[in-house]
């Protein structure tokens, strides 16, 4: 095993990782649940030819999920490199 992170560095690394996790987790809640709470009201609005409430459940949130997963991969890889803990 290569040089190990000392405890302080490890804590810092983990708090950055956790912060990213919680940010994405919060957005996940928004797109999984919060948006659709208002589906009935949103259906009164037209968007790209769709009732907006239907659109969000059928397409909008899905796009958001893909973006969140890509964002997580990119941002976490950056954190790893910053702390020098990426794999060789």
């Amino acid at each position: 095993m290569a040089e190990k992170l000392d405890t302080a560095q490890m804590q810092k690394y983990w708090s950055r990782t956790s912060r990213l996790m919680w940010t994405i987790f919060a957005l996940w809640i928004v797109f999984s649940f919060v948006v659709h709470l208002f589906a009935v009201q949103l259906n009164g609005v037209r968007f790209l030819g769709f009732p907006l409430g239907f659109y969000m459940a059928a397409q909008g949130s899905l796009i958001a999920f893909v973006v969140l997963c890509v964002w997580n991969a990119v941002a976490q890889n950056k954190i790893d490199e910053e702390f020098g803990v990426q794999e060789d």
Partner: protein, 601 residues
């Protein structure tokens, strides 16, 4: 290809070329059949070609990928690049439920069924942020392996195997059911026989090559399933609106459906959210929507056959990237499914309802013969088909839509091949998850730790065959609809596995006893609710004075199991002594990508 495959490097170095050529070959094959159809080759032969030839290709890949190496058998040698693991996960993930039933569910349920679309995509966010990279870093063979290591001992391992078995077995029965529907319809053989024909298709892929064979067939299956799902929808979008991107055009179809619903006197509109059968807003529908979305998402992040796919990437970094690829490939289908449903609905409203029953086309006949999935009854004897006289099961909407819309039969054959690819690939992944847990965790780790490699592989293969046969036999009894069985599997996995997996990584204070009691109590509460409301509703009512707790249907049973699992794990962990220093160091070691996970080298 055989030599390069065994050599590893040559095959892995040319994945793009090999699968590109394969996809091109499949398109050419479809075009040839399209030409043959125009030349008058009967539909039956076209159906046979699609079913037999695609199974033949999977069998070929499965046999080429046979292996006697443990790491190859259990985790495909950890050599699967992120992109291809994403495709394999896509096929592993998208089962008969997604491919065959989901659009049908939306067709029947409208907005309320979009809970499936949301629930079966959003869970990947949780897989990516909470689990996949850490499980990859842990670097063993199975999900119960992780539980057994983190919670020190065979107790947690065995609990993990029990939950894994119950969830995956329920799931695999649903897949066998889907395979039975397709093979019986397109090969023209009885349902009970068709299931066992399909079973052979599953076994040839997985038995000889384990994870390695399943991975490379799943990539091949993904390519077929996505092409065949998109073709009919893109075709209809072009035919109806002149634009080949259904996601942009089906808004217009929704408007037309709305008008036709008014004309036909349907009060529950397709796009209306949370309405009951009468078309009024319903709190029960509202609550069930959230419950289902939550259970499916958490279930996604708990199902071992999905999590174990991330054991196969070369690195933690690739595991993370692979989650992003997975959801992208899955997204392509889910984002199209509502369009599929909308077009099917529009076609039925325009071309089927209101037609003289005597003049209905041949597909009605053909589908009516497959086990009561389509019934047409002239209730008022006027010879004209009314909406209420046309009862179609959600499991055949996708398969029959090309015929309903009057597309050439070759499209139906293509869709059947896709549905079969979806069901086979998921069945393979599940079968492997079960057989690996039994052979690796139960047999090797608990019964005979001195077993030789050859013996372990023989046991793994024997168990694979036994589990497959039992699953097919159970599916032959038609226990329930595909989508319900699959949703139960998600609930069982969510209630039993999510808490111990997530807390094991994210909360160092989780103790062995806390995890085991939490896992079992969550799982049992979920199982209790599911079994009682499904099989003993009278007793349930006598005990609790209500049919369902807060009106929540049993497909979302995990709603009750999940909080129990988390609370019990939390409380019991705090009541038991803190995990040892070694265990805390182990948790630290799986949190960083670099280095080796402690205690597993």
């Amino acid at each position: 290809m055989a030599d390069t495959k065994t050599a590893g490097g040559g095959f892995l170095g040319n994945l793009g070329k090999i699968y590109g050529g394969y996809a091109g070959g499949f398109v050419v094959f479809t075009l040839i059949l399209a030409v043959l159809e125009q030349m008058g080759v009967p539909n039956k032969i076209i159906g046979y070609c699609f079913v037999i030839l695609t199974i033949g290709v999977y069998a070929y890949i499965g046999i080429l990928s046979r292996t006697m190496d443990l790491s190859e058998y259990y985790v495909a040698g950890r050599k699967v690049p992120a992109l291809y693991n994403g495709m394999a996960t896509g096929a592993d993930w998208m089962s008969a439920a997604s491919f065959i039933s989901m659009a049908g569910g939306i067709y029947l349920g409208g907005y309320n069924a979009l809970g499936y679309v949301l629930g079966w995509t959003g869970g990947y966010v949780l897989v990516g942020i909470l689990l996949a990279p850490y499980l990859r870093k842990f670097g063993q063979f199975t999900v119960p392996d992780f539980l057994g290591t983190r919670y020190e001992g065979n107790g947690a391992r065995l609990c993990g195997v029990i939950v894994l078995f119950c969830a995956s077995f329920t799931y695999i029965v649903a897949q066998c059911f889907g395979i039975g529907i397709i093979t019986s319809r397109f090969l023209g053989i009885p349902f009970e026989v068709a299931i066992f024909v399909g079973l052979l298709g599953i076994l040839v892929c997985s038995m000889l090559g384990g994870m390695r064979a399943v991975t490379w067939t799943q990539v091949a299956q993904y390519i077929i399933l996505i092409i065949s799902y998109l073709v009919p929808v893109v075709w209809l979008s072009t035919k109806l609106y002149g634009i080949p991107i259904p996601e942009l055009t089906y808004g217009q179809a929704l408007d037309q459906i709305h008008q036709l619903e008014d004309k036909l006197g349907v009060t529950k509109h397709f796009t209306d959210a949370f309405t009951n059968a009468k078309g009024d807003f319903s709190w029960q529908e509202f609550n069930n929507f959230w419950a289902l979305v939550l259970c499916l998402m958490i279930g996604t992040a708990s199902l071992p056959h999905i999590l174990m796919r991330y054991f196969t990437t070369p690195s933690v970094r690739e595991a993370r990237t692979s989650v992003a690829w997975s959801i992208f490939f899955i997204f392509l289908l889910y984002f199209t499914a509502p369009a599929y449903a909308a077009f099917a609905k529009l076609e039925v409203f325009q071309n089927v309802i209101g037609q003289p029953i005597a003049q209905l086309p041949a597909w009605v006949q053909n589908w009516s013969q497959v086990g009561g999935l389509l019934t047409i009854k002239d209730a008022n004897s006027d010879g004209v088909l009314q909406l209420s006289e046309f009862v179609i099961n959600q499991d055949i909407i996708v398969l029959s839509m090309p015929e309903i819309a009057g597309l050439p039969y070759v499209v139906s054959g293509l869709v059947a091949a896709g549905g079969l690819a979806a069901a086979l690939s998921t069945a393979d992944g599940l079968l492997l998850a079960i057989a690996n847990a039994l052979s690796h965790d139960v047999y090797y780790k608990m019964i005979d730790p001195k077993a030789s490699t050859a013996r372990r592989l023989i046991v793994a293969r024997g168990l694979l065959v036994i589990v497959a046969i039992i699953a097919a036999a159970v599916a032959g009894t038609r226990p329930s609809g595909i989508i319900q069985m699959v949703a139960w599997a998600f609930s069982l996995a969510a209630a039993g596995l999510f808490a111990p997996l997530v807390l094991g990584i994210w909360w160092k204070r989780t103790t062995k006893i806390g995890a085991v009691t939490g896992m079992m109590s969550g799982f049992l509460v979920c199982l209790f609710y599911l079994v009682m409301t499904r099989y003993a509703p009278e007793t349930f009512k006598a005990w609790f004075g209500t049919d369902l707790w807060w009106g929540i249907r049993n497909i979302s049973s995990a709603l009750f199991g999940l909080p129990v699992a988390f609370i019990v794990t939390y409380v019991v962990s705090l009541m038991t002594p803190e995990p040892s220093k070694e265990m805390q160091d182990f948790v630290d070691s799986i949190r960083v990508p670099k280095g080796v996970a402690l205690g597993t080298a």
